[in-house]
């Protein structure tokens, strides 16, 4: 499963970011942040006219030696980034897609919460536990 899951606001600051090996947290932050370059590139590549029909799932943003970084952009330009260990070959595109869908659903629930202030970092327990379920269990 994923080693790092991040939700990034339209303005590119992190709304939520969690990674499994705590000691590597900084590295994941760097990775996710850098991946925004590719996300932006992919969004702008679609073009304005086609933006409505754009698929939310952006696919593999870029591979690194150790990790694969996948991206997803909601219609409100909130970005989801999932980082997967490269050695984890059992994850196919479809699984990644479904992870993003789950993430999106849960994120929508967070946004629907009347006590949540859009733009604030996400502190929802439900969201957190959903993310935990998608992460590699820390060993």
């Amino acid at each position: 499963m994923a080693v790092c899951i991040a939700v990034i606001a339209k303005e590119n600051y992190p709304l939520y970011i969690r990674s499994v090996p705590i000691q590597n947290e900084l590295k994941f932050h760097y990775t996710v942040h850098t991946s925004l370059d590719v996300v932006e590139e992919k969004i702008s590549a679609v073009g304005k006219a086609m933006a409505d029909q754009r698929e939310l799932y952006l696919g593999l943003l870029y591979p690194t030696e150790d990790y694969k970084v996948y991206g997803y952009v909601t219609n409100s330009k909130v970005k989801f980034v999932i980082v997967v260990d490269s050695s984890n070959t059992s994850l196919r595109d479809n699984e990644i897609r479904s992870m993003f869908r789950k993430l999106h659903n849960s994120f929508t629930d967070v946004m629907c919460n009347p006590f949540y202030n859009p733009g604030d970092t996400i502190q929802s327990k439900a969201f957190d536990s959903m993310v935990t379920a998608m992460m590699v269990q820390a060993s």
Partner: protein, 1272 residues
Amino acid sequence: MEAHEEKPIIYTMENKPIVTCAGDQSLFTSLYTSLAQQLPREPMEWRRSYGRAPKMIHLEANFVQFKEELLPKDGNRALLTFPFLHIYWTDCCDTEMYKASVKDDMLRWQSTLRLHGSVDWLIVVVESEAKKKNKTNILPRTSIVDKIRNDFCNKQSDRCVVLSDPLKESSRSQDSWSSFLTKLRTLLLMSFTKNLGRFEDDMRTLREKRTEPGWSFCDYFMVQEELAFVFEMLQQFEDALVQYDELDALFTQYVLNFGAGDGANWLGSFCAPVKRWNGLLLRRPIDMEKRELIQRGEASLLDLRSYLFSRQCTLLIFLQRPWEVTQRALELLHNCVQELCLLEVSVVQGALDCWVFLSCLEVLHRIEGCCDRAQLEANCSHTVGLWTYATEKLKSLGYLCGLVAEKGPTSEDLNRTVDLLAGLGEERPETVNSLQSPYKKLNEALSSVEAFEKHYLELSHAAMEMYRAIGRMRSARLIGKSLAEFYMKKGDPERAEGFLDDSLRSYVAEGWSLQVTHTRKQMAECQKLLQQTEDYLQTSALLAGDANLTVEERKHFCQEILTFASQPPAPSDQTVALSMAAFAQLRQMQFSPPGAVVHVGAALQLELRVRCLMPVAVKVEQLAATLHFSLEQGGARGRAGSAQRRTGQGPQGQGDGVVLFPQGSPLAGAGMGASLLPALELYEMQDRSPSDSSLNSTGVVCKNMHLLLRRHDSSASLDTPTAGALPAAIAVDDGAQMLRARDITLQPGDNSILFTAPTGEPGSYTLRQLCGSVGRVQFVQSHIYPVVQYEVYSQEPQLTIEPLSDNLLAGIPQKVKFTIATGHYSVKKGDALQLSNTDSMPILHSSCCSATILSSTGERVGESALSIQSSEKVTSISLPPTPPYHTLEFQLEVLCHIPPTPFKPDIERLTNGEVRHRPKSHADRGMINIDQKVSIDCPWSIYSTLISLTFYVPFKAKHSILSAGKRKYIQVCLQNVSDTIFHLADPVLTECQPTIPVELLSLNAKTQQTVCSQQSVFCLWEMRWVERLPLCLQCAFSASFAPVSASDAHTAFKPYRYEFQLDRVSTLYSLKAEILPPSGDQHCRTGTLCGLEVSITRQAEPSETEGEEEESTEIEGLRTTKLMYEVVDNSSNWAVCGKSSGVVSMPVAASATHRVQMEVMPLFAGHLPFPNIKVFKYLPHSAVPAIQPDTDSCLENDTMSLLDKGLDDQGDTASIRSRGSVHSVGSGEQQRVLPMPRLEPFSPGQVFYLSQGRQVLVLPVTDDHVMEVNVT
């Protein structure tokens, strides 16, 4: 394919499908050139098995002489050397010769082919005219061909082709060439299809055996590659690539299965330790070295992958897809690293880095070799990944081999380097002569610290440039940061600083706190090395307050600042100004009093709540906020209103004097605030004209425009230390006023600091800059937002008088409240208010009154008694001493006398020209008001203050005269128009000028009466007189009234007076009407005429005075007056038949009676009231001045005068029916311009109608049928 022709490809595969030639070799040689040229000229459609799409294909062939060795032996599946077609060439046209030699040769050839199972053959018979001519015994041309066909092609006649005159330029020759070529192509393709199909089937069978124990991937690899080769040979690169991709996928799957525990035996050879890491080799079409290794089953994983990729790369470049090469290369490199790890292959540390580095560069070189510069630049996004990867790998090699360390590599590092270089082996022959080969680069880079630095920087900058070019700024910055780390390691902080700063800015701007912390820590280290004290301290301050760090780290950075602060200042440098934002956050400010508006000299406290971000308690020597002072225009007037508005400023501003400072979320910190724009703060703006406060314009104003329109990159300067901004802000003018707090210890977390605000001068004070001093360090916040300001005002003393109740009532004592706002004036002992007395409104000061002193906030401060002295003209109220900006309140009772004459309401306009708006209800009730002006001399002014009070008269009186025959009564109606309930007592009516004594006899109750609001009291007096009544009677009504609520009823009674005049009171005539039923009947009946008898009786002798009033004429010694009577029935009970009006002459003598008979008809049955009878004075035309009548007036007078004119002397009657004609006669007479008589009503009381209210019984007609009476 055209593209290929344009660009010569060095690596093209030399192989072509083999076609053997047997028979006449010299004949073939003569035709070879044109054959080789013409064969590929036209494409041929290749239909393929397994549903693959048909393809157009240009065929080429390698024609070789037929040898038996060329034919494949059983089991040899080599396709590259496989002869796809065998051709027998002959130009024999001689039967003899054919029979003699050619046939035998052909038979031999055929049998050889058959022996090897080859069925793909063709016999070409070349005919030429030249040859024919030489022969004399020419057989028909076809005979030879027919013979051959007969002999060899028993069923396949198409296996024999005739080529006629191939070397001549004739149409026949052309035709035969083209048909031959078509045949050749078709047969070739048929052979391909058949042989490849068979091959593929074999290959599949082999693949299906892969689970069997003896199966080897390498063997299979060779087989499938053979197929790929053939496709490549046929220039079907796409198909060739598919073969390699299948092999790739198959291998990958095996590796994955191995990782999952399902290992295959043959994989063992790939698990051998990696001994050579000399990178990819992409410069040859086929790397035969590696291929042989694979063939022998000795290839390592890297060898296999390298070979496979080099083949894929070659094909992709043939396909003009160089960018796919780069993408696949990156995947391959990542994948190989993963696979080696998965297969647990032991690799020397750094070896893979070498391999990856070399491979990256090799791929890039290969791509550069086949693309021009513009193409490369346009496709940076495809190559940049490889550049970055190479950079990373070189970096890690550098760290591994000790090339980055400041001291240079140790001997251990050197050993490692030697090992790594050994694994590279010899440089390949292809690149030996190239100066920039990857091999040379790596060798050089690892050889010395300087060379490493050169290469590393070169790569890094190249990668950075590319990232910048394609807009991937974050990636570029990441490389920049790793460069900075490199420079720091090399002990070169100057160069590191720029990169760190750039990265830090972007992280701050986008709010990535972990990166910010990490980079800032590096920055701090860098700045410390550079001895940029101020910047270092600023960064330390930020780090000390950074929640991402451990407490120890934070304490360390905090201590750095404190240590610096406590150092004695060097004479050269000044204090160091740091941004307050790093040190503490403002939470809220609270004014006390909350209005934040105070008078001059008043105490105003400001509580500032600050969240200190430092990890330890910090002692601040002084915390000061500079104040911006501005003189407020408009002075003290109207201050209260504007002050209310001001304190509520800002989105966080609350009415209770609290200003909340906006807080960014603690997690995202300052970065989020910078990236999110502040919300628009919009306010309604109204521009009123100063003269009459009418609205000139209105609009919406944005108050924080300066924040919204600020340039974006400059917003980051709040957090990053910039040398320029702060010192300018700290230039504090010492003379300026400031809020100051000394020696405070700020604990970590929230702190509360109390300031006392200066209130020396009136005006508006705005907090501008906050500065905390710790030793040599000052923390400065250059502006405070939202705006915090307070106001100090100075006010002129003011006196107001206002009623306690809604309305002041005239006539009874009323309480009014005096309010003195002392303003800046302090009321001293002996100060007094001088009220000039007026008669109409005395001031009652019998009750002891006391004054209340209130502070400016409305608190009750004290109370003291007032002493009031009253002299003839002036009432003096001595005021108790009151400090400035206090309010003095006391109440006084005043009484406004009701003027006796009925009062006309004033034009309600006061002296200052303002229209007083009265409650509407008063106007409705018709209350009469009295404006009473009070002139007051105040001790603080030389001018008198004029104050107007409005009193309302609580009663409204009406009088009327009532008669009964000669007797006269006066009725006064008194209505209470106020809201108060009154007692009314002692109503008295007196005659004012009793010239002729008249006795007024009261018929009223003696007791008090209660008059509720809106109720009326009626009082009645009978007039008695002795001789005669006076013509005019002046009366005065008076009564006492007191409010019901008044405690002391007797003293509270106040007089009310109403004066009026009565004229012509005495009764002159009495009227009596009688309705007589028709004769012989006892009662009137509906529909029958009844007699109406009106008798007018003179009651009184005419007095002399009255004579003037009455128009009398003397006829034959008898004084008569003319009266006009009229019977009017408004309720349509009666129909007046015949005349209804007439003029009578009445003798002016008592008891003179005139009777008039008329006929009326009742229209209804029942008790019917009598019809009205009216009497007027009739003034004949001679008495009035001749008026020229005009049509209008004649119409106006229609009902009265005009009508009667025609009757003037005749005394005639005019029925209602005849009115119209009379009218016309009248109008005709009008032409004669006659003066008109007129009517004058009697004043009330002069005519007494005896039959008023009388009724007569009318019976219905006895017949029941409906009676219709039509009176027109």
